[in-house]
């Protein structure tokens, strides 16, 4: 069935809720409205207000309430309306959700999912374009998943819901309705922590995740014309991070670019490069490169072009690394 990312996510939620009545959704405007992006559309009607819960405007409470529900044996799926509004919940996420299992040496666990749209490129107001995924990726005890396509979104969300650990599920807002693809109607899973080999190639490894994937593919197609063969990896889960697959690829190609929507400093790309440069040191034929946003606050739409990564930037970087 053809689905875009929104309908694929909706399908994942509906299937899982159908199969497991310990699952409940909570967040701002997730009910009648179906969330501001309509990911939860129709679910309240179908599963009732007890299982699709419109909460007051309180992000810290949403995270904490989900924590308690999970501790009591439910499988809550919380929605933060945008990543930029998840910051009030960081204390609960860092101080409780990530640690409850370790703090209690396993007496209590917090199997929950916190979904949120993230990323720029949707011409939005301030705070609606954040990509601070490395805040989450650095917290031990959390898993952080970022799908890049409708099918990936469905399979990864189902895995996240079934996972015994808390998962931060970041949905690239820009890709919600960017394209559709064939997606299985039934449930299926995609393992957390395994990257996806999007395309094999010999000359250079390009790694990305989320909204960067379609742009990376544009760029790699364009350099193929000039004879550069790219190996493309979609990281899919940034925590745990499948650096093994990336390192294996770099050992083969000798060259690597990490494409990251977020600003440069202390992002996920830097972690990957630190691992690569340590473990693929002798294989590297050129300096590992990053293509990232500059270290500035995401500009409002009129200035976004100075921030957002486009295919030219990636292509130029490929040419630079190849010709090193």
């Amino acid at each position: 069935m053809m689905m875009n990312m929104v309908t694929a996510l909706n399908s994942a939620l509906a299937i899982e809720m159908e199969n497991d009545d310990s699952i409940a959704i909570l967040g701002e405007d997730v009910g009648a409205v179906g969330g501001v992006f309509r990911v939860t559309e129709g679910l309240q009607e179908r599963f009732g207000t007890d299982r699709v819960i419109d909460t007051p405007l309180s992000e810290s409470l949403i995270a904490g309430m989900a924590t308690g529900m999970a501790m009591a044996g439910m499988r809550p799926i919380a929605e933060m309306q945008f990543m930029g509004f998840s910051y009030p919940a960081l204390n609960i996420i860092i101080s409780h959700i990530a640690r409850m299992r370790n703090r209690s040496r396993g007496s209590y666990t917090v199997p929950l999912v916190i979904r949120m749209p993230y990323g720029a490129g949707i011409k939005a107001l301030e705070h609606h374009s954040e990509s601070t995924e490395s805040i989450y990726a650095q917290i031990p005890g959390l898993k952080v998943v970022i799908p890049s396509s409708p099918r990936e979104a469905k399979g990864l969300l189902i895995s996240s819901i079934r996972d015994p650990d808390p998962v931060i599920f970041l949905e690239p807002a820009r890709n919600y309705r960017l394209f559709s693809e064939e997606v299985e109607e039934d449930a299926f899973t995609i393992s957390l922590g395994e990257s996806k080999m999007v395309q094999e190639g010999d000359d250079i490894t390009i790694v990305g995740w989320g909204a960067m994937m379609p742009i990376i593919q544009e760029a790699t197609h364009s350099v193929e014309e000039i004879g550069i063969s790219c190996e493309v990896i979609d990281l899919r889960t940034i925590s745990p991070m499948d650096s093994e697959a990336v390192i294996k690829s770099v050992i083969k190609t000798g060259r690597v670019i990490i494409v990251q929507e977020a600003p440069m400093t202390c992002g996920v790309a830097s972690e990957l490069i630190a691992r690569i440069s340590n473990k693929a040191f002798l294989s590297l034929e050129a300096p590992p490169e990053r293509v990232t946003a500059p270290d500035i606050t995401v500009p409002l739409p009129k200035g976004e072009k100075y921030y957002y990564i486009n295919m030219e930037k990636i292509r130029d970087s490929i040419e630079k690394v190849i010709s090193f």
């Binding site: 405007d29 409205v33 509004f85 009030p88 301030e126 400093t265 500059p294 739409p301 200035g303 100075y306």
Partner: protein, 358 residues
Amino acid sequence: MLLDDYNPLSGRMLTILDQDANLNEILMPQLDSAVVEKAFRTMVLSRVADDKAVILQRQGRMGTYPPNKGQEAASLGPAMTMGDRDWFVWGFRELAGLLWRGLPLEQYYLGWMGNEYGNHYDPDLRITPTSIPVASQYTYAVGLAYASRYQKENTVIFAFTGDGGTSEGDFHESLNAAGVFNLPIVFIVQNNQWAISLPRSEQTASDTIAQKAIAYGIRGIQVDGNDILAMYAASEEAAEVARNGGGPTLIEAYTYRLGNHTTSDDARRYRVEEEAKEWEARDPLNRMLKYVRSREILSEKKIESVWEWAKTLVEEAAHKAETTPPPSLDDVFRHTYESMTSNLKEQFDDMKKREESQ
């Protein structure tokens, strides 16, 4: 004192000019007709500018926009009582008040068109930038109030949020601290009955927003937010109390969002249209109009002309905003720090080269 007579436990809401434009002469604030005229003009301008913004958005000429329709009195009343050096701390739905304060409409438009220069206010206006993270602005309002007293400025801070905003931790921490420090702040909650799709009754189980003041040992009052005179009177008293060292007040402006939450929203998904219809009968602008007519503050001809005047201003402002050049690369980088760090400079130079080579 109004704040005593209408304290949150009184069970009464302050109305001076009711929805049929009946006037409570005893409580009526003393306003000379020039002021009333200006208030009327401002409300009209706000309404016309707001409608225009919705159209601009629909035409792809503006970004997501939160309509103000129906809430004009709630921000205008307080704005009318602000002193020159007082602070106007807004959220994102206070257009009428901002226009009274002197915010150039083109700058307002520019912000919603997605340009940071929309927030590049003349510091003398003492308006803080738009604050999108709901209720977070209340925390810095407390700081402004603290500084006001420390610097012996004798100013009052007027801080706005919505009914949804009252559920945020920041609302609580701010009102509590303002109470403890006895600071000169007027907290105005525009209770427009909805927070996107969540009705007021599901936002909090308290009967009124005003009674939340009791948790902080501060004054509270529920005011008919569509009644410009009541909003004026309550704000004036609260500001005076604050200026005289009497501490903060929470004003619940009981009003209604006649439009969608934003231009991306479709209110029909979650509320019955009759509700909005009913509230249209209580439209603050109509009420003002009736008042202006009944008191003969303006002739019918003059009233007509106010709309014309507003339309002209709005068109000019839209034009100015639209013809403002987009931010340059320099704009986008330069204000991260007072001076660019070397890392940033390197990134800037790189982008500059890219730009020039294109």
